[in-house]
Symmetry: C2
Subunit: 260 residues, 2 copies
């Protein structure tokens, strides 16, 4: 029966999967076949989550924004520390994939990239992600943001209420309050602080859920009025949403058909 | 010197990383230490891409929509076949993470989930993703969709022009043309066919880029008019976007301040 030199095997597998992983593989080979595959565990969602420090994650979000923009910065701020806890193969996750979401997806200004990245992270780490993502979006719409002023920020903090989870609405609200342009360095830093704020809030919610606390979410009353006709069972029933309608459609309300 | 039984090693590693991968690992161990680590290769974006069959991927998108909704269905339709080409550890990617994007992210109706999933896939697989994602979004806004009628579809094909990359605008446009409700089974199937259409178009674009063809993208003329004031260098400069403004803001134009 063919035999392989154990030490040579560890060295060679080290070239394939990292020295630590190679030693682990061979240890498994030495022992029994009952061990679970760390590789196949990676594909199972959710990944194991241990509470993180929201303030530390906020700073990661701010720093990450200037490296890989809002979506990737937010996702990586939350998920990278978890992969470091879990080790290989989790550490080999292709984080740079999430660069697509910068500027509301390649500058199209659709969904706020921080929210897009946070949602992916929450789905990856929570056994019940829906209430967390709902609560995060509702918080983002109504809260004066950014509510974090990270280390390294150069400009004074200016907060605005986005009234929407969409990038261009969020930015337009902030430019109105700040009287700064959308391509100004102040706006860029604001989006970095917003990435920090969203990453922090996501971790607060993940920690609360992990501690067994209930996560509240309710649609704003004005939105409920719109939805009574436009959502499920309404006379129009032409949308499916939880967004605040007034953030974008308030200027249209003067043209709204009479309900009577 | 300690020796390990080769056949036993293949069997045990098979439990860790799949039989094929185990055989590959041991083959590498038999040969030289020059091979690159497949685990660390996974974190490098882009992953290697080989042209896929757009019609096959379209059907995967449709079938996937009914399992994991629009975002995950679209992403997995494109990326799963690539992971099967590449083998472990790529096959251990946590696809279910992308379930967060269903219904424009948990039913918030922000970015169309098929576009969100396709964008992630393109960023993961393309050496130059920006022109592909720009072209995909512009196509989605102006094209009568869905333009695929997959196997298993029960209802007749009804196409509409979304005029926007946003979920609720896309659905509202379709309910207007189809005279169907947003919670109807016809609308659900339409989103399945739309997932198929977006997955197919993404693969067409990826294949064209892989073949060295130039990828064209231009903002609609009406949008350029809005942007002359609202985008970079304009007198207002309060947004950063490439979206078609008229899709949502046409009803506001009667209230638009005079430019003169």
């Amino acid at each position: 029966m063919e035999k392989i030199d154990r030490r040579k095997l560890v060295t060679l597998l080290g070239g394939l999967a990292g020295v630590g992983a190679a030693a682990t593989l061979v240890a498994h080979a030495d022992q029994a076949a009952t061990a679970k595959s760390p590789a196949s565990a990676m594909q199972n969602v959710p990944w194991p989550y241990k509470p993180l420090d929201p303030d530390v994650i906020a700073q990661h979000g701010f720093d990450g924004y200037f490296k890989t923009e809002c979506m990737c910065g937010c996702f990586e701020a939350i998920v990278r520390p978890i992969t470091e806890q879990l080790g290989s193969p989790y550490t080999d996750f292709p984080f740079a994939m999430f660069r697509y979401g910068g500027g509301g997806i390649k500058g199209w200004a659709t969904i706020c990239g921080a929210l897009n990245g946070a949602s992916a992270a929450i789905q990856l780490l929570s056994p019940n992600p829906d209430p967390l993502i709902n609560a995060l979006f509702e918080w983002y719409e109504r809260e004066p943001l950014p509510n974090v002023h990270p280390k390294g920020a150069k400009f004074s903090e200016i907060r605005s209420v986005a009234d929407s989870p969409l990038c261009h609405q969020s930015i337009a609200s902030w430019t109105k309050v700040s009287n700064k342009h959308s391509y100004s360095p102040e706006r860029s830093e604001r989006c970095g602080s917003l990435t920090a704020s969203v990453a922090k809030q996501s971790v607060i919610l993940l920690n609360e859920q992990a501690a067994g606390k209930p996560i509240a979410f309710a649609l704003p009353q004005a939105t409920q009025g719109c939805m009574s006709c436009h959502e499920k069972g309404g006379v129009v029933e032409n949308i499916r949403t939880k967004m605040n309608c007034g953030g974008c459609h308030a200027p249209m309300l003067g043209k709204h058909p009479s309900k009577s």
